[in-house]
């Protein structure tokens, strides 16, 4: 089963290779991995999309935690989460296809971020199904280049039904 694991790490050189080495050395899968600094520049946030049965994912989480440069590990599948991915798609556009390309972009609320007489570069953000869908639709026009960020994800905040509660605490 697919799992999305959010990992907070030290923002130091060599950390990425420790993580990648852990996965390759123990035969765990990485489907995608994205990294960027957090609000605190001494730390980085990684989102790793991996797969495996319950026992393997438990090991992945434990092994990540064991790495000294890893500060926090959260298996997002343990609760509800939202995830997004961005793709940049450069499509060939003959004169007669240009309107079609724009229509498709519009349907997916994607943006054209670069344009030449023969190409559009379309930026689209969404869950993997949405990205797949727009790629499928654009394919007949001819995709020249495609680059995807890999997924980033964050846990949903639990819904608070008694919305007054936190305010009351604040007043006290």
């Amino acid at each position: 089963m697919e799992h999305i694991i959010s990992v907070t790490v030290e923002n130091k050189f060599g950390v990425l290779s420790r993580i990648a080495g852990l996965f390759s050395g123990r035969g765990f899968n990485i489907e995608s991995l994205s990294v960027a600094p957090t609000l605190d520049p001494s730390m980085s946030q990684m989102t790793i999309v991996t797969s495996g049965d319950e026992r393997i994912v438990e090991q992945i989480v434990k092994q990540l935690n064991k790495l000294i440069d890893v500060i926090k590990v959260v298996d997002l599948n343990e609760s509800d989460f939202v995830s997004r991915e961005t793709a940049l798609i450069k499509v060939h556009t003959r004169q007669e296809d240009r309107a079609e390309a724009l229509r498709i972009a519009d349907i997916f609320r994607a943006n054209v971020i670069d344009s030449t007489p023969a190409t559009y570069t379309i930026e689209v953000t969404g869950d993997p199904k949405k990205i797949e869908a727009i790629i499928n639709l654009l394919q007949p026009l001819g995709i020249k280049e495609l680059t995807r960020t890999g997924r980033v994800a964050v846990a949903r905040e639990p819904l608070r039904f008694s919305a007054a509660q936190p305010k009351k605490v604040a007043r006290e």
């Binding site: 026992r55 064991k66 000294i68």
Partner: protein
């Protein structure tokens, strides 16, 4: 006051209480060696190969419980020490290895004797550091010792570029270390420990399965207390030997592939396995699907990744063995009563029956070839009063030593378990001898494995490390030969060593003492003579070449299905062959 990187290095080692380091110089670490030469607090044991330095540091660490320290140069110095780092990583040995590196300005330029030390050592160290700034050297060394010796211990590498060892910085040694991503859990979860105590009280067929974690945690006393209090039999892993007294009536000896019959049968038929500081290695579990089919499993380990890695655990307890056992004993002391003894009477009857049915055995004829088991048995009898430290290499002799040399106390047993490194034993014994100059240190080796780090005999002689090596010389890679006899129809592909060196002359060439015991009747006398000599000694004992290690659980086999003796076809074959002559390779190859 400002100090150079090399001086800071020495000051840090002194503050960590390091008395001995194992080292071999080279271009980029010359400044450090120059400073070591000008001080007297830290002894430098100059090894002949960096692998030797690494294993010596391991032996030092295993015998003392403190971190072992080695120092090597860049490039080949580093690649040579990798085997020792990997060995220490598998067996959780606290080790701090310092490697030289080309100057920071040259890193990545394929400079002379440059290697990516961080990249090379990453998969076989607990952590590694490249020190890019001399101002960070002291705090890095402090962190290295902290990481190596806390939690589940392991090797840590500190890579020091040449310019960092020469530049100056203000020396400040931090008093404490705080690493936000590293907080080992020492105290076990109280609720879980209570659950474990309840399970122990109820179990009819409990068994303790203890490993090297008990030794590193210093929990032997607590373990003895637990076993005696609850009258539960104790199985030890290869790494755990010495954690519980080998001659204790509750000791079942070693378990696993070459464990005793009773140890493996007790595991298989147990209803409660209490694993302490052990990691369910494949040499212990055999076939995972049929491992301990009737048992509930309690697993105490400081490393959470060890728990549920190989097998399902019912009561996991993450924590230090000593702390957890103390807590557990406290609960049990208040609850244990006479009932448990009654509850487990049938279990003990069964265990004693297993012990009687298939004890460890071998046949030694007084005028026949010397049997390797007999050598170890005699060595044990003749030395046990001196509380020796015993190291081994890897192979048949290692298994026989584990079976017949019954250790009374922890930190006496130096062996390569996880990685199975031939060539480990001799340098490891030297490391222990460097820590305890007046103790008796024995190295039980095979004629194959001793040759893998033979060059360290020069170190032993020069540095006055009077290790006694007993070579069980069967002219074979014995364990390979055993597998070939059992599983490859006796085709001895590259396992016969043909002309081995004359170990007596070899010892003499190095300035050590060489002795040989060629007949059963000579053995005791020669061993006694060797032990009395105050120099390094090699005792060459030609042994019967076709002896096999039993019991044996074939790889992937089930724990209660042991091979207990040579299969009939093998017996017949050997009866025809007799003792092979070392020069007569044809006899052996066509046998």
């Amino acid at each position: 006051m400002k100090l150079t990187g090399a001086e800071i290095f020495i000051e840090c080692l002194k503050r960590e209480g390091v008395k001995t380091i194992f080292a071999l110089p080279g271009g980029v670490v010359l400044k450090i060696f120059d400073m070591l030469h000008q001080q007297k607090d830290i002894e430098v044991v100059l090894t002949r190969h960096e692998q030797g330095a690494g294993h010596m540091a391991e032996g030092y660490a295993k015998a003392t419980g403190k971190a072992g320290v080695c120092l090597v140069t860049s490039g080949p110095g580093m690649t040579n020490v990798i085997t020792a780092l990997a060995d220490a990583y598998m067996d959780s040995v606290p080790l701090v290895c310092f490697s030289g590196q080309v100057p920071t300005s040259l890193i990545g330029n394929d400079a002379f004797q440059e290697a990516d030390n961080i990249g090379l050592s990453r998969p076989c160290t607990k952590y590694n550091f490249l020190v890019k700034d001399v101002n960070e050297l002291a705090s890095t060394i402090k962190e290295a010792f902290y990481i190596a010796t806390t939690g589940r211990p392991g090797p840590v590498l500190v890579d020091i570029p040449k310019d960092v060892s020469m530049e100056k910085a203000e020396f400040n040694y931090p008093n404490s270390v705080s690493i936000r991503g590293y907080n080992p859990t020492y105290d076990g979860n109280k609720w879980q420990i209570k659950q474990a105590a309840e399970a122990i009280m109820k179990a009819k067929k409990p068994i303790l399965y203890v490993g090297g974690g008990v030794i590193f945690s210093g929990a032997s006393q607590e373990l003895i207390e637990l076993a005696e209090l609850t009258q539960i039999p104790v199985d030890m892993t290869l790494m755990g030997l010495g954690a519980f007294p080998g001659e204790h009536p509750l000791s079942m000896g070693m378990l696993g592939m070459h464990g005793t019959y009773q140890a493996n049968m007790a595991m298989h038929y147990s209803d409660l396995v209490i694993a302490i500081g052990a990691r369910f290695d494949d040499r212990v579990t055999g076939k995972v699907a049929e491992f301990c089919p009737h048992a509930k499993i309690i697993h105490v380990d400081i490393d959470p990744t060890s728990i549920r890695k190989n097998i399902h655990v019912d009561i996991p307890i993450v924590g230090d063995c000593k702390a957890v056992l103390r807590e557990l004993n406290q609960i049990l002391k208040a609850t244990v009563n006479g009932e448990q003894k009654e509850l487990r009477k049938a279990w003990w009857d069964q265990i004693r029956e297993w012990e009687r049915a298939h004890p460890l055995s071998y046949q030694q004829e007084t005028d026949g070839p010397i049997k390797p088991q007999y050598v170890i048995k005699r060595l044990y009898e003749l030395t046990k009063d001196r509380d020796p430290i015993v190291s081994t290499d890897v192979g048949q002799h290692q298994m026989w030593a584990a079976q017949y040399f019954k250790l009374a106390k922890p930190n006496r047993w130096l062996t390569s378990g996880g990685l199975g490194t031939m060539g480990f034993g001799f340098p490891a014994a030297m490391g222990a001898q460097a820590a305890f100059r007046n103790r008796l240190v024995l190295c039980i080796a095979g004629d194959g494995s001793i040759q893998m780090n033979m060059q360290e005999m020069a170190t032993a002689v020069v540095s006055k490390l009077p290790v006694k090596i007993i070579v069980l010389n069967n002219r074979f890679h014995g364990m390979v030969r055993q597998w070939q006899d059992l599983f490859y129809e006796g085709r001895y592909a590259s396992s016969y060593l043909d002309t081995t060196p004359d170990f007596v002359k070899l010892a003499e060439a190095y300035g050590a003492v060489g002795l040989r015991a060629g007949k059963v009747g000579d053995l005791d006398g020669v061993l006694k003579e060797a032990i009395a000599i105050e120099k390094p000694v090699i005792v060459d004992v030609p042994t019967y070449p076709y002896e096999n290690v039993y019991p044996m659980i074939p790889a992937g086999g089930c724990n209660h299905q042991m091979i207990l003796e040579d299969p009939p076809e093998l017996k017949n074959k050997q009866a025809g062959v007799g003792q092979a002559s070392p020069k007569d390779s044809d006899t052996i190859l066509t046998a």
